[in-house]
Amino acid sequence: MSDSAPAAPKWGSVEMLPMSARFNSAVREAAATRLANLDGAWQDIVFARQFELFSRADAEAVEQAVLDTGYRFQSSATASLRDEPHKYKQPERAAAGFSEGELSDGRRQVGVGDNVIRKSATVVGPVALISQIEQVMAYLADGVPPGTIAVIDDSGGTLTAPILEGFAGVICLGGTIRSHLGILAREYDVPTLMNCRIDALRDGDTVEIEVTIAPPAADAYETGDTGHARIWKIESGG
């Protein structure tokens, strides 16, 4: 029989988040069980027999054990949902992150965010909700209609890479002004609000984004002093 697994670390017990706790505990258990059944000293097993200690089949078993309970993973990349739909929850319509305000002067506040570049005037335009590769492909082929304000739930710079500079404005439902999309918005001088919380918007809604507000302070994301730029929906008759 080999050396036994060492005691758990003295000052820590288990991970803080459920999925990492579940998977990491399962891997630890699998490795400990394998070790107990291997002959030899630890130093002769750890690298020389590492595939006996933990193999691809063991990893597949860890994943399958969770899937067998009926659980489906949360996705973040669209390719994950596309390629492995059986493993992931279908995305739910996001709950409104903002309660719409009262109608005033033909507009109703529907959200807040953090401004990237201070401009001398707000920006008004029709909304396009963009979250899929196919949508970006279509805009790449046909062009972005002038005046379009994109609503994007990706703070990265790659999903909309070939079309970003064509937007009149961007509402990003995540990230910070330092996210890649925020960096690119500044470089391209595209009026952009990051870290937005909005009430439901639909394609074609006309919105106004308050890019006249100062960007957040350098420590705003540590102090929580964010969300000062407003987003309004322009309603007919206003």
Binding site: F47, A77, R82, T158
Partner: protein, 515 residues
């Protein structure tokens, strides 16, 4: 290979703790990026594991061919991709994060691979000290979030040769648009991560002006197979754009090579701009389009057009990738973060850097988006992995909590022998991506790999040859009238529009003004 003794372990653990503290600060304050296009969290975790298994072997070969200190000298003189974010921070950190993951899983103990850990840290420290020789710090954090790599002879050439701009003029617009396009393209070519971009400085240019140096890497055919056929009209693989700002203080230039400024970075405050290129084969910075302002504007406009088209071409290619291809590409981009050490040393092999090791492939079934997100959050944000906790009296830097991102090496390795000293040097891996078929774009033209390696092995920059290598700024201070100082400065002034052959005696007042 570094000696395994008490002094070495003390230094290694101190260096490791500083990396741990800096990494925590960066991840907590500087925004860890996510993406809807790329499964970033899974690929980041896999890259750390790939670094653990492959980096020590590759670094030992590189160090034997060209020591880390000399690699630091090279990286200090021009803009190489082995820079602040990639070599100084990412290389040792990714390796150590892979180690944390394996320890957490019970597949490694903190004493295992001690020779590998010590060698990686030793290489990293020697590289960083040489890279930072002119500011005499070991990291940007240790310098108070600043980097000043360049010597006076280079800075004077930049100050004299950069072209003055005003908002609205052709060159100003061309520069701003090219910078945007380069940033966009670099994120895409690097699977959403920022290792294709680099910023350094600031440098005091007097009269409330500061210069920062912005670098962009891997712009066309080279190591990444997905860039075969992309941006092939671009004559150079890398571009360096120094910018002089008025009335702007770049108060932070962190170890991710990103900056903060007060007031915020505003292109309207750019008063001078230039463009250069450099790589493993260039003897210093090579000016690009620098003859006059119109030539520079025209060159920048042309490059922007090439990269705009390349962005669309590359995006369409990536849009066809499977999830596994996106993960392989991202993991390899991250774990190959110091492949340019091999290019400089002339030891580069494609399979060394662009294959995901077999020992890593076995963990792929764990890497769904949710586990990737949560485990990365535990690893670098929450520090929730059990072994990241320290004794209850501990108050770690920045957090004040009893936790550290990275685990030190137990000193018991000096007296116990129940550990395996190295993970081994046999490398074997695979990739789901297409095999590379194109050439390598360099400042010496487009080359086959064997030729690139041969030229790299034979090349040494003039300023690092005898007798100049150890004639630093402190020596210049006392010997600026020495003929060797003039020779050294003239080497740095080659290709300068305004300072060619002017020598070592110039002060700022002697330089032509750009604005």
């Amino acid at each position: 290979m570094a000696e395994l003794d008490y002094k070495t372990l003390l230094e290694s653990n101190s260096y490791l703790r500083n990396l741990s503290d800096t990494t925590y600060w960066l991840c907590i304050t500087r925004t860890v990026q996510e993406s809807k296009l790329f499964p970033m969290n899974p690929y980041m975790l896999l890259s750390y594991l790939n670094s653990f298994y492959t980096l020590p072997t590759l670094l030992r070969e590189i160090d034997a061919a060209l020591p880390a200190e000399e690699l630091g000298d090279r990286a200090r003189e021009v803009s190489l991709k082995v820079n602040t974010v990639n070599a100084a921070w990412a290389m040792p950190t990714f390796y150590l994060l892979g180690r944390e993951m394996l320890m957490n899983w019970g597949l490694l103990r903190p004493t295992d691979a001690v020779e590998d850990v010590v060698d990686v840290l030793d290489f990293s420290r020697r590289f960083n000290l040489a890279y930072h020789r002119n500011d005499a710090h070991v990291s940007n954090k240790e310098f108070g979030d600043r980097s000043q790599f360049l010597p006076e002879r280079t800075l004077q050439v930049l100050e004299a040769d950069l072209h003055g701009v005003n908002p609205g003029d052709r060159l100003h617009s061309a520069a701003v648009k090219l910078l945007a396009q380069l940033s966009q393209y670099a994120f895409l070519a690097h699977c959403e991560c920022r290792i294709g971009l680099h910023n350094s400085g600031p440098y005091n240019f007097g009269e409330n002006r500061q210069m920062i140096v912005r670098d962009f890497f891997e712009l066309t055919e080279g190591d990444y197979p997905w860039l075969d056929g992309i941006a092939t009209r671009l004559p150079f693989p890398n571009l360096t754009i120094p910018l002089v700002f008025r009335n702007t203080n770049f108060h932070l230039m962190d170890d991710w090579a990103s900056f903060e400024a007060e007031p915020s970075y505003d292109a309207a405050n750019i008063v001078a701009v230039g463009m250069y290129t450099s790589d493993a084969l260039s003897d210093g910075y090579l000016p690009v389009g620098m003859d006059n302002a119109d030539a520079l504007a025209e060159t920048m406009e042309a490059y922007r057009e090439i990269l705009n088209e390349a962005t669309a071409d590359l995006w369409k290619r990536i849009a066809t990738w499977t999830r596994e291809q996106m993960i392989d590409a991202g993991a390899l981009v991250y774990s190959s973060v110091v492949k340019d050490f091999a290019h400089v040393a002339g030891t580069y092999r494609q399979d060394d850097w662009l294959l995901l090791d077999d020992r890593v492939q076995r963990f792929k079934p764990l890497m769904n988006d949710e586990y990737g997100r949560d485990n990365l959050a535990e690893l670098v944000g929450l520090l929730g992995l059990p072994q990241q906790k320290a004794n209850e009296y501990t108050m770690a830097r920045y957090s004040g909590l009893n936790q550290h991102t990275l685990t030190g090496i137990p000193y018991s390795v000096l007296v116990d022998n129940d550990y395996a000293p190295t993970c081994g040097d046999a490398l074997s891996g695979a990739t789901s991506l297409e095999v590379k078929t194109g050439l390598w774009s360099t400042t010496a033209g487009r080359l086959e790999l064997d030729e690139f390696n041969r030229r790299a092995r034979e090349f040494r920059p003039a300023v690092l040859a005898e007798p100049y290598r150890f004639l630093d700024e402190e020596w210049v201070k006392w010997h600026h009238n020495d003929p060797r100082a003039d020779e050294l400065y003239r080497l740095g002034q080659r290709g300068s529009r305004n300072l060619a052959d002017r020598g070592a005696g110039l002060r700022r007042a002697d330089l032509p003004r750009a604005d």
